[in-house]
Amino acid sequence: MLMEKPVYVDEKLREVLSSGRLEYRSKALPTWCPGCGYFAIVEGVTAALNDMKIPMDQAVVLSGIGCSSRFPFFVNTYGFHTLHGRVLPVATGTKVANESLMVIAVGGDGDGFAIGGGHLSHAAKRNVDITYLLFDNGVYGLTKGQTSPLSAQGFKTTTSPYENPDQPLNPLMMMLSYGASWVGQAYAGRPDHLKEMIAQAIAHRGFSYLHILSPCVTFDKTNKTYVNLGMIVRDLPPNHDPTHRMVAMAQAEQADAPALGLFYQESRPTLGDNLNSLIAKAGGDASAKPDRRKGE
């Protein structure tokens, strides 16, 4: 997996054009810096949606605020660019309102683990049936290079000019401790694996958390660079058993040698299932949706 086999540009182009996945791209050109890892993620998501044949008008992509959170503008689905840190509760509302929608939430490491950190455990514990793609560049991109809770210790930024003295949070351990029912990790520098993981995360019924390591080529020249990450990422051991939470925890604990793949998966009722069962207990009719459309 580590080595992608080389492709020729026109061969690639032909493949892309015929793949159909360009339909999942919106007409807006990404506003990201050339070389930003996020380009690979938009590729991965559109390819996965295309492969899975998910109708574009049944998909909603929501985001917070950040470079990463510009994402919804670049995919041709329904989208909601919400507020800094609030993508998970907004996405929860969308999903509760209409269980039949396919809901993807995206955001950056600051968005998710700083200002949005209070919502993570609840979305995971409730097992809201959405996919959360977290773009981890270890820095605040959009506001031009401040420290994030996932910034490496020792990293110098505009807000920690002498160095970041703090140890970073361990997002995978955290999500495992919250009871997320699907936890995985991918890397923007391994696009095929990334696409594969995105598809798996979407396919999972329940709350899926995919942590995506991605370089910020503008504000991080030392830690999460392509070169650096290329050297330190590894695959999960071949015999890794994703049904054991403590095994996954042990893998997640080795944060300085990030492993790619599916850490953990379990199957349990989703928030939607639970709300439906409450309706059943109350003697209500869960399927009764008032028709609230004006006729044409």
């Binding site: 574009m56 008008d57 605020i65 919804p72 909601f80 509760v96 309102a97 039949s100 609230r292 004006k294």
Partner: protein
């Protein structure tokens, strides 16, 4: 304990099935907007600790007299502590025609605990009745018995409550019921409705408990009937029969809100507990699933409003409820609703502020936060009902407005309105709310691109929701163009700011809604009262008294606070020699709003007692402004 008894009460309040219309837009809907207080008008206060069953007794009384055809307005005061032996007072005003507020003076005061009741003896009017235990247990030092505190002119009644209870039920757990029976007998109230209510209230506890309580009530009632009565404690028979098919129910403001939500076909609710709003969510936690809807208790208020916005985006009728502290946390997300044009309804029941303030006391000090509590030019709709029926109305109408104008709507209540019970008449026809969500259902022509924020005549753009074929679009908190794409050019921001402003003006003409309403004298008056929210009831009472004194006076209630119906208010101001704005906050937030819009001076009457505005204070100001003092 206060808590448990309050929950029990909630479960047993008699209710008609959902989907029943409430008769007439407002009970004060007569053309003159005012009626004489002919017929019965008596106020009973019951005071004791929660352990004495004070609130429960008030609850039975409230329901029984409503069942007997009287109108009721009542308000209970709880202790601020959880621990259940603090002072409770239940006050009920029972009338033939619906009253607007409690009276300052009660006609009857029933004591279930003399130490708690003694400080309240002063609130009984001259020749009013003060009822207490004739034979207290143990020795009481001088001055510890209520009778030592009764004022000259008040009429003491004492009754061996405990003894009667023991005789009738073999225990003294029914003391409150015995005493209640005594009051009912004393006041010549019919016995049957009480027995029906007692039966339904204690149904869960089995026939033995019902029988005991019925016996206790009977014993008290008999004693009451046999007592020599002063004339003015009597009730007149109910003056008005119900409309055919109509049904009277007793609701407090929060229950009325919940009912309004259900009748408007709320489909999702997200909330976080906070006094005094919690009972809205609690009521819906039971009711909404029965109607096929979904309720989620979120991790905080930010998530609650965020989820409402997310659900509103997906086309759901969605709401949350909170109080001031929660509203303060929702400001940023409400601003997103404004710019992304997502419908959302927020019920805010105000309590004493600032900060944690006085969680179990009432106040009207969150108006500023409701109007301005988001950064930027984030206009939204703010409405405030003035009575329990208005709570029902405003709740349902809030959804109509949120969807029609695609914006957050805040419905402002306060503790005094949330917890106050009033009789409400329900008619048998359907709920008076528009259920059409007004979303875009047009099929696009081939090649046509859906424009979420397209400009139209009324500045409202047809709204598509996720799942609609081919209408994919992105909404955002960034300034954007008609397609929803980020655009921060000067022209676009001026245009979109204007769009957001103009479309709300439509709400000033929203159909079947009372934006403002004037009561009392028509034409030129000496003094006009301009008021909002729960305080309006006291204003009406004061106005009636002032007119009885010969002062030309009228009162205007303003239900729509944003956008403000400036033309109507200006016309009212033109008619008034002086304008008084009574409100329960320190700085006069509504007065500030009115002056800010109209640049015309008004007289502020601001108080922060933690309870209702004293009618006497309003009346004194009216007299002063009319030059009668």
């Amino acid at each position: 304990m206060a808590a448990r008894s309050s929950r029990r009460r909630a479960e047993t309040t008699p209710e008609s099935p959902p989907g029943v219309e409430i008769n007439g837009e407002q009970r004060d809907g007569a053309p003159s907007g005012e009626k004489g207080m002919s017929g019965a008008d008596i106020q009973i206060a019951i005071c004791g600790s929660a352990g004495d069953g004070t609130i429960a007794a008030g609850d039975i009384l409230r329901n029984a007299v409503a069942e007997a055809g009287y109108k009721v307005i009542s308000f209970d005061v709880y202790p601020p502590e959880i621990r259940g032996f603090g002072k409770c007072i239940s006050r009920l005003r029972i009338t033939t025609d619906q009253a607007y507020s409690l009276k300052e003076r009660s006609d009857v005061l029933l004591s279930l605990d003399d130490s708690h009741t003694i400080p309240h003896v002063g609130e009984v009017r001259d020749f009013g009745a003060v009822i207490c235990e004739a034979k207290p247990v143990g020795h009481l030092a001088e001055g510890e018995h209520l009778s030592a505190h009764i004022l000259p002119g008040q009429i003491p009644y004492s009754l061996p409550i405990r003894e009667l209870s023991e005789k009738a039920t073999g225990g003294n757990r029914s003391r409150n019921i015995v005493a209640l029976g005594y009051v009912a007998g004393l006041c010549d109230l019919p016995k049957a409705p009480f027995l029906r209510i007692i039966e339904s209230k204690f149904k869960k506890q089995g026939p033995k408990v019902i029988a005991n309580n019925a016996a206790g009530f009977g014993a008290g009632y008999e004693a009451g009937c046999q007592t020599f009565k002063l004339d003015d404690v009597h009730f007149a028979p109910p003056a008005r029969a119900l409309q055919p098919g109509a049904k009277v129910t007793i609701l407090n403001g929060n229950h009325a809100v919940a009912r309004g939500c259900l009748d408007a076909r709320l489909t999702t609710f997200f909330g976080y507990p906070i006094t005094p709003a919690t009972t809205i969510m609690e009521r819906l936690a039971t009711e909404l699933p029965r109607h096929g809807g979904r309720l989620l208790q979120t991790e905080d208020e930010i998530s609650a409003i965020a989820a409402v916005i997310g659900a509103g985006y997906a086309g759901s009728r969605s709401a949350t409820s909170t109080s001031g502290p929660g509203l303060a946390l929702m400001g940023e997300m409400l601003g997103l609703g404004t710019i992304a044009e997502v419908p959302a309804v927020v019920f805010v029941s105000q309590r004493g502020g600032p900060s944690t303030g006085m969680p179990t006391k009432t106040e009207q000090s969150d108006l500023n936060a409701a109007l301005y509590g988001s950064h930027g030019d984030s206009q939204r709709i703010v409405i405030a009902p003035t009575n329990v029926e208005g709570c029902y109305r405003c709740a349902g109408k809030a959804f109509e407005m949120a969807e029609r104008y695609q914006t957050p709507v805040i419905v402002l209540l306060d503790l005094y309105l949330s917890n106050r019970y009033e009789t409400v008449e329900l008619s048998a026809s359907g709920p008076p709310f528009e259920l059409d969500a007004n979303v875009h259902a047009k099929r696009l022509k081939p090649g046509e691109v859906y424009q979420r924020y397209v400009l139209t005549d009324d500045w409202v753009s047809p709204r598509a929701i996720p799942g609609d074929p081919g209408c994919m679009h992105v909404i955002t908190g960034l300034e954007h163009n008609a397609l929803g794409r980020p655009n921060d050019s000067e022209e676009m921001h001026e245009l979109m700011s204007r769009k957001r402003h103009e479309k709300l003006q439509g709400a000033l003409r929203h159909p079947d809604f009372t934006h403002v309403k004037r009561f009392g004298d028509a034409g030129k008056v000496e003094v006009g009262i301009l008021a909002w929210g729960s305080t309006f009831g006291e204003c009406l009472e004061a106005m009636i008294m002032a007119r009885a004194e010969g002062i030309r006076c009228s009162a205007m209630k303003v239900v729509m606070l944003s956008p403000l119906p400036e033309a109507e208010i200006r016309a009212f101001l033109d008619d008034c020699g002086a304008v008084l704005v009574p409100e329960l906050n320190y700085e006069g937030q509504f007065a500030q709003l009115v002056q800010g819009r109209l640049a015309r001076p008004v007289t502020r009457l601001t108080r922060v007692p933690g309870g209702p505005m004293p009618v006497a204070a309003i009346l004194a100001e009216i007299r002063r402004l009319a030059g009668r003092c």
